[in-house]
Symmetry: C2
Subunit: 217 residues, 2 copies
DNA sequence: GAAGCATTGTGAAATGTACCACAAAATCTT
DNA sequence: AAGATTTTGTGGTACATTTCACAATGCTTC
């Protein structure tokens, strides 16, 4: 039986971690959590890599950036590795998230139950349409965007998802940033301009489809 | 006034194009189309790069993989470049797309008007829940998944979006592949296993949020 | 407890990607 | 029409990422 490692320290404060490595950690975590639900206790870089379509060497090298989490001859203790990755990604806590735009996408996000065990919780949703403001989405009353900056500032929210039309996305983003938001997941099909110290990620299904179309005859 | 280049040929049949370059073309295209809507006729790698947060050299190098689309001293004719990128990505046509899973995400995708001018068109939507089958989503009647393989095969559909729960996604994927689908956009938070010659892209907002959380204090 | 097997962590090598810098070419200015 | 200005396309270089390959280590079996 694999013992829980003691006194393991996360490195990473010295080194500069490549962004591409950071980007793979959530994928490792997602698969490890699935294995944990299958009550698998231990895995190897080889097995994990097969599930992910990533080489075993890649996984070992990536994890070695942050510490020594495995055991030679045995592999990785899954619950232990899950906790280490959660620490590294700062999701060994729950981040409150605001959603702006209570249309099809915003409502789907507000109702989605899948964020809970992955470090995030939607806590408010905004819209600027009088017909939508005041209606219920999941457990939330849709709030007026007019009060967005104050509400987000007061709640200390650092993470937001933007699901407004493209021509509104930059303006909404500017408001979010002035309210102290540091991480924005943008569903609008437009590149946002943000100051240093604010992170943006994009979700645009057409971009993914177009990318795949290149490889279609 | 910039003349429309004549006799320009796409290269690319010889060379192996890096996937990372292919992945940037949809972003270039999205921004070029926005500029076109602003009735801008001509741009430079510098201006395009500023809008995208990408270096001018990168853009020039990427485009040069496929041909010579610009004019020294002037830059790129936007409508011309848009057409070239649409050709390269094989979206100088419309791809019919099937959606599987008529829940919040699937319905949002079926109702979304933003695919039309980007090379894709949702033409059918499936579910396996008797309460959902037969209901209307946008203009579509939700079809029973039991008939999925036959319907997709008959329609010759090559592209699908999967928005079923994670534990159903691999099974749905296998059916899609047996029906001849070659490109799958998967919204379920799970890595899919597919044979050679089938492409998968993933959309998982939690992955993006987790990635950004790394950079939050 | 020794032999055999599995698997990590990691330098070194190989491969891939981004950036620099400049000649060439087109346009603009006077 | 000559010189100044702009901007492309690209060879070369610097930097980044992935893969290789193996010593070290721990587990399993006899
Ligand atoms: N529906 C999809 O499947 C899908 C797919 C890809 C991308 N998108 C993008 O996601 C975004 C939202 O899509 P949707 O389908 O939910 O659109 P939608 O029209 O259903 O919803 C947009 C909502 O934003 C609100 N809004 C507009 N301006 C606002 C502002 N300034 N402040 C606050 N709220 C504002 C509107 O009142 C509306 O309720 C769009 O940018 C769209 O292009 C949607
Ligand atoms: N809602 C969101 O914002 C969101 C965000 C991220 C990821 N996702 C993921 O997207 C997927 C869909 O999410 P959702 O919120 O729309 O869920 P949902 O429960 O609203 O919809 C899922 C639909 O799939 C149908 N379904 C189940 N098994 C099926 C099968 N074998 N064949 C055909 N249809 C089947 C169900 O009947 C249901 O209608 C899930 O995997 C979810 O984790 C959703």
């Amino acid at each position: 039986m694999l013992q829980l490692q003691k006194g393991v320290q996360l490195l990473m404060d010295n080194k500069q971690i490549p962004d591409i490595v950071v980007g793979r950690l959530p994928l490792y975590l997602r698969t490890l959590q699935k294995m944990a639900r299958e009550t698998i206790q231990v895995t190897s870089s080889l097995e994990l890599g097969e599930r992910l379509g990533i080489s075993a060497a890649q996984i070992r090298k990536d994890l070695s950036q942050f510490g020594e989490f495995g055991k030679q001859g045995t592999g990785y203790n899954i619950p232990f590795l899950i906790e280490r990755i959660r620490e590294i990604l700062h999701i060994d806590r729950v981040w409150d998230v605001a959603v702006v735009g209570a249309g099809d996408v915003g409502r789907a996000l507000a109702r989605y139950q899948g964020f809970a065990d992955r470090g995030f919780r939607v806590v408010m949703i905004f819209d600027n349409n009088p017909d939508v403001i005041g209606t219920l989405v999941a457990d939330f009353t849709v709030q007026n965007t007019a009060g967005l900056v104050e509400a987000i500032q007061n709640a200390g929210i650092k993470v937001a998802m933007v699901s407004v039309p493209a021509d509104q996305a930059q303006s909404v983003t500017d408001q979010l940033i002035s309210a102290g938001v540091k991480a924005i997941l943008n569903y609008a099909p437009i590149s946002l301009s943000v100051p240093e110290g604010v992170w943006v990620q994009y979700i645009d299904p057409a971009v993914h489809l177009q990318r795949m179309a290149f490889y279609l005859a």
